[in-house]
Amino acid sequence: MAYSEKVIDHYNNPRNVGTLNKDSKFVGTGLVGAPECGDVMRLQIEVGADNVITDAKFKTFGCGSAIASSSLATEWLKGKTIDEALTIDNMDIVEELALPPVKIHCSVLAEDAIKSAINDYRVKNGLEAIVLEKSHH
């Protein structure tokens, strides 16, 4: 499959690979996907004052598009407030990376990982989990 230059760039130079302390109450962790489906994405956010995301890290088991989608997601998350982060839509990722239709799944995974990380942070801090809208499958 021919990938866009942006996918290849994120794949070759993944941004923000790593692990944040999942036990910290300032850190939210989202782990989505399943090994038997061929992709697992772990996205973490660190939240500072005024609900601003100060850091984001990822690790992904999956194809090039899954790795690129999660790398891009960490870039977009940094500097956004949690509320802003919730507006990231998987189709924005599809567009930015020019993902082919069979790879839309990877962007859905990234959107779900973002939401799952935010919910983890919210629950840890005594807030209610947000009921998530169904993303574009």
Partner: protein, 403 residues
């Protein structure tokens, strides 16, 4: 060294320059229609075809009259299976095959199921071999055909064809084999193996694409197939259509080269394959798939746990290999062949097939080893599963969010 390195010879092989040389005159000055019996242009073309038929027959130990030229192995599989079913359905409607067959066989069998055939799809043991006792138990008086491949395209496992043929014959059924990956790579003798029909193709043995053959036994027993194409009655009425003369000449030459060079080539290739495989399987959590005793000399299929095959192929863009992961398809289903060995989905998603060939050099294998090691290590650093594994977390105990 040329980049990328081609290690996907199970998909197709490059044309041997000696084959091309044999073919070239048949495009231009020897362009006649082999069916034109009334002038020299036709005779010359026919001579080329006759010679090729001898070359092909010699490789597999049959007579010239038992070779039916087709457009490739897929057509040969179709002609063999559908042709036998239509010819012998009065005798019975039962066909036996295996779940690890190529789609050219499986889809043909599925098609026949809609037309009244009953098909048994045998499972395989975890090394990829069919269970002979299971085969024997599946045989019935209605069984007309057993179709089991010779060497597997994904894992290279060689089936015990001689024993399978004996079981088929004991019950009065015919034995067919899709020998696409085996012919030209290992000695295949249709008499010694008891093969009644056999499909193979030129482009897996350094010949051109678009030409293959079906061997149809003429004696003990005389096998007949109903033609699948109507027309001028070419190929003894079994496969109509003007012969692809340059292609057939190429197939013939490819067969001759394989016959002469197979012995030394397979020693060289299995040596390179073993080097590749033993080095890569020393990496932590990597596994060789399929039986390592009964298999083709040029194929290695290895799973690297905690990295995904397609992502891995992307990290190895300097290598042309193939993955058992189907992340590129809409279904996202991993290889059905690997799954039938009992591999878990995640291991099946993590596999790479290396297909070596006549033009593969030791330098290329060394490079392939280095590229693979680097890519696997890099992707494992990126893999949450690898991190969890290293922390001693039991991944099977995690409730994964299904997608």
């Amino acid at each position: 060294m040329k980049q990328p390195i081609y290690l996907d010879n199970n998909a197709t092989t490059p044309l041997d320059p000696r084959v091309l040389e044999a073919m070239l005159p048949y495009f231009t000055e020897k362009f006649g229609n082999a069916a034109s019996r009334n002038h020299a242009f036709g005779w010359v073309a026919e001579e080329g075809v006759d010679y090729a038929r001898e070359q092909v027959a010699k490789l597999i130990g049959c007579t010239e009259k038992e070779i039916i030229f087709t457009s490739g192995a897929t057509e040969a599989d179709n002609l063999g299976i559908k042709g036998v079913f239509e010819m012998y359905k009065e005798k019975g409607n039962h066909i036996i095959t295996a779940v690890t067959e190529h789609k050219a066989v499986l889809d043909t069998c599925k098609h026949l199921e809609k037309n009244g055939a009953r098909v048994t799809y045998l499972g395989v043991k975890e090394d990829g071999l069919v269970d002979l006792a299971e085969l024997e138990a599946a045989m019935t008086p209605e069984t007309i055909l057993v179709s089991i491949m010779y060497g597997n395209n994904e894992i290279g496992v060689i089936q015990p064809v001689k024993e399978i043929a004996a079981i088929a014959h004991k019950f009065g059924a015919l034995f067919m084999t899709d020998a696409t990956q085996a012919v030209g790579k290992i000695p295949v003798d249709v008499i010694a193996d008891g093969i009644d029909l056999m499909a193979f193709t030129a482009h897996k043995m350094y010949g051109p694409k678009g030409v293959g053959a079906l061997y149809v036994r003429r004696k003990n027993p005389r096998v007949k197939v109903t033609s699948q194409m109507d027309g001028g009655g070419h190929e003894r009425g079994m496969r109509s259509g003007t012969l692809n003369v340059p292609g057939i000449v190429g197939l013939g030459k490819a067969c001759e080269l394989c016959r002469l060079e197979m012995a030394s080539e397979s020693i060289r290739l299995s040596g390179l394959r073993d080097k590749l495989e033993s080095t890569l399987s020393q990496m932590e959590e990597s596994y060789v798939n399929g039986n390592t005793q009964h298999r083709l000399p040029h194929v290695a299929n290895i799973s690297f746990k905690y990295v995904e095959g397609e992502g891995l192929m992307m990290a190895m863009s300097d290598l042309a290999v193939s993955s058992g992961s189907a992340c590129t398809s809409a279904s996202l289903e991993p290889s059905y062949v690997l799954k039938s060995l009992g591999l878990s989905d995640d291991l099946a998603h993590s596999s790479i097939r290396y297909g070596l060939g006549r033009f593969t050099t030791e330098e290329e294998i060394d490079q392939a080893i280095a590229v693979t090691q680097k890519a696997v290590n890099h992707l494992r650093e990126l893999s949450p599963l690898w991190e969890m594994f290293k922390e001693g977390i039991d991944l099977s105990k995690i409730e994964w969010a299904e997608h």
